[in-house]
């Protein structure tokens, strides 16, 4: 459990949109099996950062060192595109807030899961279908829905299908953008429970962007608070939430409605 190399080592990542700051000089290490939350209001730069980490946006400066299985730490920013895309299909995963952005809505549920396997070289139809059904089961979707398109699924089921599609290749690092965002609270609870179980069983590391402090308290080991593109506070999740030091974090924590 005491790996000496962080899975992800982020160094001085900055991204500007013209004169506007996306994120500025963000650095952190993420260790194997750690779940880190990033919170902040809209425009704080948390989604920009996540998209830089996941390779959807090119940062202006900085390095993102990922500890690859074969060659140890490699910079995702300067890595050649084909190699980066191969990593993105196998070792990395990205769960979008809106399942429509992460699923192919016209393709069957089984096809959605199988597609990622095929992209990594799987060819045997029977085995791909069996793996897809296995994964649908793990995200609590009945096997008899395997041929239905995600269009026919509820929002919560679509989000669970997106998880299955992402996790079928056994990634080590998952990026999540408001994964419980559009869901009813009861559906949210089920997804949270599922996510916690999968993180534990697969030893996953994850970076989760959300504005929901209750979600990070239950899901994340660590927390980073962003404001105006910068990280203003970070630490253990309960440390940041129970003993917030930065004015913005104090405002954020004290603004949560109690139920």
């Amino acid at each position: 459990m005491t790996a000496d190399t962080p899975l992800l080592s982020v160094r001085g990542i900055s991204k500007r949109y013209g004169a506007r700051t996306g994120c500025a000089d963000v650095s952190f290490d993420l260790w194997p099996s750690e779940v880190m939350g990033i919170v902040g209001e809209s425009g704080s730069g948390k989604s920009t950062l996540l998209n830089c980490l996941a390779g959807h946006l090119a940062p202006d400066t900085g390095a993102i060192l990922y500890d690859t299985r074969a060659e140890g730490p490699r910079d995702l920013v300067t890595m050649a595109e084909p190699e980066r895309r191969m990593l993105a299909r196998t070792d990395l995963a990205f769960v979008h807030q809106n399942p429509r952005d992460g699923l192919r809505m016209g393709v069957s549920a089984g096809g959605n899961v199988g597609e990622r396997l095929m992209a990594t070289g799987a060819r045997h139809y029977g085995r791909i279908r069996a793996a897809a059904i296995d994964w649908l089961g793990r995200v609590e979707i009945a096997a008899d829905r395997v041929d239905d398109p995600p269009r026919a699924f509820s929002g919560g089921m679509q989000q669970r299908l997106q998880l299955a599609r992402n996790l079928v290749t056994g990634p080590r690092l998952v990026f999540m953008d408001e994964p419980t965002g559009g869901l009813d609270v009861s559906v949210q609870a089920r997804l949270l429970d599922l996510l916690r179980g999968l993180v534990r069983q697969m030893g996953l590391s994850a970076v989760i962007v959300t504005h929901d402090l209750a979600v990070v308290r239950l899901l994340a080991d660590r927390l980073m608070v962003m404001q105006g593109g910068r990280v203003v506070e970070s630490g253990l999740t309960d440390q940041v939430l129970d003993d917030p030091a930065h004015p913005y974090t104090q405002l954020l924590v004290s603004s949560v409605l109690q139920v």
Binding site: E34, S186, A189, D193, D238, Q239, D243, Q250
Partner: protein, 227 residues
């Protein structure tokens, strides 16, 4: 097992113009294996604050907090995460769980995190729930629907499900009556007997007298301004 030395803590409240409220200075205490130490002092004198500084969810301004030889103050998150997983258990006054997760799984979870096989973990969780008198028909339900006393006992079952060498207990017998209080006191005595270092807050004087070897009055750590 627990060594607190020269610890100071203040809170800065930014929406009150950055007012700095000192809450503790030069706090020192030691808890040895097999020993149960009570924190005493009036409500608001800093008992829970001191406990949270040991658990690591409160930061400190000065001094040192060592648990099983590991410095908690200023430690990297992963150091504290590992300490909490393997070494230090905490029964807080609040039960924080994912809604809709069955009670049995809530109690088994620390064991699953340690890599214990699910069946073994659930069997041990069941044993703990029985020990604190939670009826079996409730085990499949989420504890969020339980009464205060039942939630407290689920919290205790979870806090004792693994033989952590260090235990922090914040009012473990609060809101418990007769037989349930007795069950919890037996668990504490059992943990002492196996050599756990225990730090506890007990408003219940009878309970304190029975399980604690000595008391540390946190009013001795009050900063001059607040004294």
């Amino acid at each position: 097992m627990i060594e607190v030395a020269g610890v100071a803590k203040s809170f800065t409240v930014w929406n009150h113009g950055g007012a700095v409220i000192p809450v503790m200075r030069d706090a020192c205490l030691t808890v040895r294996p097999g020993e149960c130490v009570a924190l005493t002092g009036a409500s608001g004198s800093g008992k829970s604050t001191l406990m949270r500084m040991i658990w690591g969810n409160y930061r400190i301004d000065a001094g040192s907090v060592r648990v099983a030889g590991v410095e908690v103050a200023g430690a990297e998150p992963r150091t504290v995460i590992r300490l909490r997983r393997e070494t230090m258990g905490y029964v807080s006054q609040f039960l924080r769980v994912v809604p809709r997760v069955p009670t049995l799984r809530v109690v088994a979870e620390p064991l699953l995190t340690l890599g214990v096989a699910p069946q073994t973990a659930e069997a041990r969780a069941a044993g703990m729930l029985a020990a604190v008198n939670i009826p079996e028909r409730l085990w499949a339900l989420s504890p969020t629907t339980f009464s205060g006393g039942e939630q407290q006992r689920v919290n205790i079952a979870r806090g004792f499900v693994h033989p952590w060498p260090v235990l922090l207990l914040d009012e473990p017998t609060a809101s418990l009556d007769g037989a349930n209080r007795e069950a919890v006191l037996r668990l504490i005595e059992g943990a002492k007997a196996r050599g756990a270092a225990i730090l506890g807050i007990f408003h219940d004087e009878g309970a304190r007298a029975r399980v604690c070897d000595r008391a540390v009055d946190v009013r001795a750590f009050a900063p001059p301004a607040a004294a």
